[in-house]
């Protein structure tokens, strides 16, 4: 009898399944499939565990105490898969305590790690390992302190050392060990116990895209990787300035400016977390009540100024050349350090930024769109109040930031509004009438970003305006308004609020500035890389506006280079999608750090010829 068979007869081993954190004890020598079934995890086993269907693929750690690959495994899987630790659960026997990863494809019950967007499957490496423990109570024979009892259970689990205690964990531990009879879910990191939740509470993650105008949040169930709810809120900093420059000025003019702006952005995110939990509660597809206190992991992406406001870092130096941030590298803090009302021990990750005006939101877009490893020549635009533009070529990634202003978010436009119900999002001139399509199909109440872009393109096409944006007084669409000539889109009688919806000269000017900034950014990037517009194989357009804009209109006013339609992709809120993926994967976080280090940043204002390029780009050519 070999020593391994000896063990098979006598020893007990512990298996932890990732990403769920579910643990069970079993006799040494049991197959992973049997363990998973015992733990109530539905692994695919179409062939009944005969090793012939190949659908119960799992991943084991390097040097895990498991049986060597069997004949059926060599037949069904390549050497590459086997060397990457992929195995068949029905063929793999466990001889020591270890952790096993169940890829989403192998699980028959709901367990999803793929997120919306350009989604590829996420590597099996959550930044925090979930571990379910039962901590014994105090006995008068062995009156061990609360922390020491918890630490011993963690040590025994074999996944990590308990590490040094964090104060907020100690402050709540006495209560926590009594809520669910000592049953807790513990988040473990390299440096030890990161957070502790009573077992009857859901384990949640939050991904946030902190925009200058809008803050978008995604609530994720960490065990399954499933997005439970998503929502957006206006950034309440708007009260102190529509754009980042005004807000930076506010911190210089007012002594409490930075503190107030910090409070504003925190308040919006804290409110958003409450909203998301309520929404997830309504959907009701998880056990336990989702509350901000159950959010134990968080990723925040945003432009560099928002990043600094969030962390209460001074921003004055971001308002003047050479636009130096306090810090660029990726950061990890506890939620209560920042002032976020999540679980006070929640790990908040902030991916790296690239420069003063190229933030982690753009790094997130590049990651989510998968272009960072592309061999094609790709242009990526994330359109917002600042529009970040990246050109990816065989020679690397170059990025710039264009000050496009808030016009495409529907702001600073006379009858502008967000892309909510009643917003005009599409305009066509047919004969002597203007046809408007609204969000939700109801009576129009204003015009959103994609609508104003469409309007300008159509006006120019039908000679309602000239190439400089001036209104053609001879056009039947031009009427005399209170402040001068204007174009009547929808008369009061047909609107939702009983007031005319009009477009004026100033509105057209705002669109010119926005499109001019974007186009000159594209122009200078292509120039610097010696790439002609024709050579661009793919143009990815991110952001909510980017999702709905009419590519033809954008090309017709010269905002985008004229290229065949099949080269364009509208990728939606890729920054948010990237944040959700960063929430679930440690290796993606490493990729983000290395990506940010590889990006060359081009400061537009410092580029020779920028001014004349910009002025040329203001023209509305057809």
């Amino acid at each position: 009898m070999s020593s391994r068979e000896m063990k098979l007869d006598t020893g007990m081993v512990r298996i932890a399944f990732q990403p769920s954190g579910c643990r069970i004890a079993t006799v040494s020598g049991t197959t992973v499939l049997a363990c998973a079934q015992k733990a109530g995890l539905g692994l695919n086993a179409d062939c009944g565990g005969m090793g012939s269907c190949g659908r119960c693929r799992i991943q084991v750690q390097p040097n895990a105490p498991v049986s060597p690959p069997s004949e059926p495994e060599f037949e069904l899987m390549g050497a590459g898969e086997l060397s990457a630790g992929l195995r068949l659960a029905c063929q793999t026997r466990v001889f020591g305590s270890t952790s096993v990863y169940l890829p989403a494809d192998s699980v028959s019950t709901t367990q999803r790690l793929q997120v919306e967007g350009q989604g590829t499957v996420i590597d099996p490496d959550p930044p925090t390992t979930l571990c379910e423990l039962s901590v014994p109570g105090v006995t008068s024979e062995l009156p061990r302190p609360d922390w020491e009892r918890l630490a011993e259970e963690v040590k025994e689990s074999g996944f990590a050392e308990p590490g040094p205690p964090r104060l907020p964990i100690l402050q709540s531990l006495n209560d926590l060990l009594r809520i669910d009879d000592g049953r807790v879910t513990v988040g473990l990191r390299n440096d030890g116990i990161s957070w502790v939740l009573a077992r009857n509470r859901p384990v949640l993650g939050l991904a946030v895209d902190v925009g200058t105008t809008k803050i978008a949040g995604y609530l994720v169930e960490l065990r399954s990787g499933k997005t439970l709810a998503s929502a957006a809120k206006m950034n309440s900093q708007i009260a102190l300035g529509e754009d980042v420059m005004t807000r930076i000025a506010c911190t210089i003019e007012r002594e409490d400016g930075l503190a107030i702006l910090h409070e504003c952005v925190l308040e919006t995110i804290n409110d958003l977390a409450v909203d998301l939990c309520k929404e997830a509660s309504k959907a009701g597809d998880i056990t336990g009540t989702p509350e901000p206190g159950c959010i134990v992991e968080c990723v925040m992406v945003g432009n560099t100024v928002m990043h600094h406001f969030l962390l209460n870092l001074p921003v004055a130096q971001l308002g003047m050349a050479p636009f130096v941030p306090v810090v660029s590298r990726d950061l990890d803090f506890k939620a209560d350090r920042i002032g976020l009302h999540l679980n006070e021990n929640a790990n908040v990750h902030l991916p790296p930024n690239v420069a003063g005006f190229v933030g982690s939101d753009h790094v997130s877009v590049l990651l989510a769109s998968g272009v960072s490893t592309s061999s094609e020549t790709v242009l990526v635009l994330d359109v917002g109040t600042n529009t970040e533009i990246s050109l990816i070529t065989r020679n690397g990634i170059t990025t710039c930031s264009a000050a496009s202003g808030p016009a495409f978010e529907g702001a600073h436009i006379q009858c502008g509004m967000r892309a909510a119900e009643g917003a005009i999002e599409r305009i066509r001139i047919r004969g002597r009438s203007i046809e408007c399509t609204t969000v939700g199909g109801c009576a129009p109440t204003g015009i959103c970003g994609s609508g104003i872009l469409d309007a300008v393109a159509q006006f120019r096409l039908h000679n309602v305006i000239d190439r400089h944006g001036g209104l053609n007084a001879d056009s039947p669409f031009v009427t005399r308004g209170v402040y001068g000539p204007e174009i009547l889109l929808v008369p009061a009688a047909r609107t939702g609020h009983g007031r005319d919806i009009v477009v004026g000269r100033r509105d057209i000017g705002k669109v010119q500035l926005a499109k001019g900034a974007i186009r000159s950014g594209i122009h200078i990037l292509l120039d610097a890389a010696r790439v002609s517009p024709d050579e661009i194989e793919k143009i990815l357009i991110g952001g909510a506006f980017g999702m709905y804009l009419d590519i033809d209109s954008a090309m017709s006013i010269g905002m985008l280079p004229r290229l065949p339609a099949n080269r364009f992709r509208q990728i939606g809120n890729a920054a948010g999608a990237g944040a959700v993926r960063l929430l679930l994967s440690r290796s993606l976080r490493k990729d983000a750090a290395s990506l940010a280090g590889r990006i060359r940043h081009l400061e537009l204002a410092g580029t020779p010829g920028f001014r004349s390029t910009f002025i040329n780009a203001l023209r509305l050519e057809t």
Copy 2:
């Protein structure tokens, strides 16, 4: 030419001198003595660097890039010293960047690491390495962020990796790098940059003994190890209860009880830090202005209940058997986590506690008194509101806590007061008169702990009271007071405030309870270890009261066993002295952790026969 000689000709190396943190760059191959002279550090060199006086001993790190020991070193130093890394500065040449420790004995200028008390020289291992850096400013060619510029300097220094940034450092970094032209002192730990101070500020440490009644603090200059100031303040928690049990009850009765008690103890310590800085400012023997913001390292010792109050941990479970703390192990937190108004990045270390009523203050006493490694049979008492008693024998350390009450701190005594000016501290009955000695020699205003102990002993000796503490109505010293018979110590005409100073039956009862608790603790410890009182080779008595009590009086009322006078040592505030030493030494912190793990704790109330032992010990035998 060997490769080493090659280096000698061309390379530049950096030397950091510890504990000062002073760094210099020099050509490879320079002697440590020459480097130290270049850095302005006065190393002893009586022989002029000939290797004959042996007074320039230094310590190098294992495998440091230095020349092998020379002939003079082998002659002057033992193999033991050499293998411990001790070298002669004049004989040791440096061939790569390294850190060199200068023991206080080798330095001719002021540099002290020895602290008051039982002081032995502290091992050369400060918990945080001080490092002086000059961080370059921003240039428009290379607009690197603040953190990244600092991190690169740290990396280049070769002492530690910069580690992940802490948020409060980032929040102040922009200002900090501009105060003293980028010149900063950085505190480095294993996990990276711990704190950053402008170079023109002193680098301070704070050691605190958090008592139930009194909080004592010591301000230390970290570069020299010199104690700049010491002071004590009444713990403002007293308003919510004189003893820990009353304060625990307060947290149960009032919802905000714990929060208030936490605030009180913090407030006292924060005030104490301000006082200490003012006192050090007056003394004026350091450069720069001492302020709480310069305090970057801190050690706090105290009983377990004070420890929990300090950290805002629940204490209810410390008020009932089996008296389980939330945590026992040693802890490290940042000052702002706790709510201390020191440098917000200051490292606060809390040594381990042993049990619910044996705290880190007693661990500190055992460390400071050096008995933890003693081969003698030693009894250690730390007299306070709770008196911790340890018996050290060849078989280990056993500790108990006796509820002695506040009588020996002058509290709960009719005319009691702290041992301040005017307090009666010594009493002798000669014939028909009572002679009183006061602190400071001025007119008496009350009676302190050592005074009341002396009084009871003298009263018993002269039959003013009987063995049960009852007043002898026949004694000429017993008079009729407002509340019953009492003993007049000083008539109103001779006191500082014009009121009689008297001792009543209740006061004598308080002393009986205190001495009874202490004596029965001693008795039970000896009993458990099967040691007779005669076998005790040394009795160490700590605490302010312990410093001034009359050993004869204490023996005569049976508080201490009757032993020859030369077996007693009055060691003063050994807990505070221990805290100062823990502030300066990482290895002592490790010793404290292992010591706490080795102590056996004896729960007096749970010991069979405790009640009858205690009742017997109440008697005032002579």
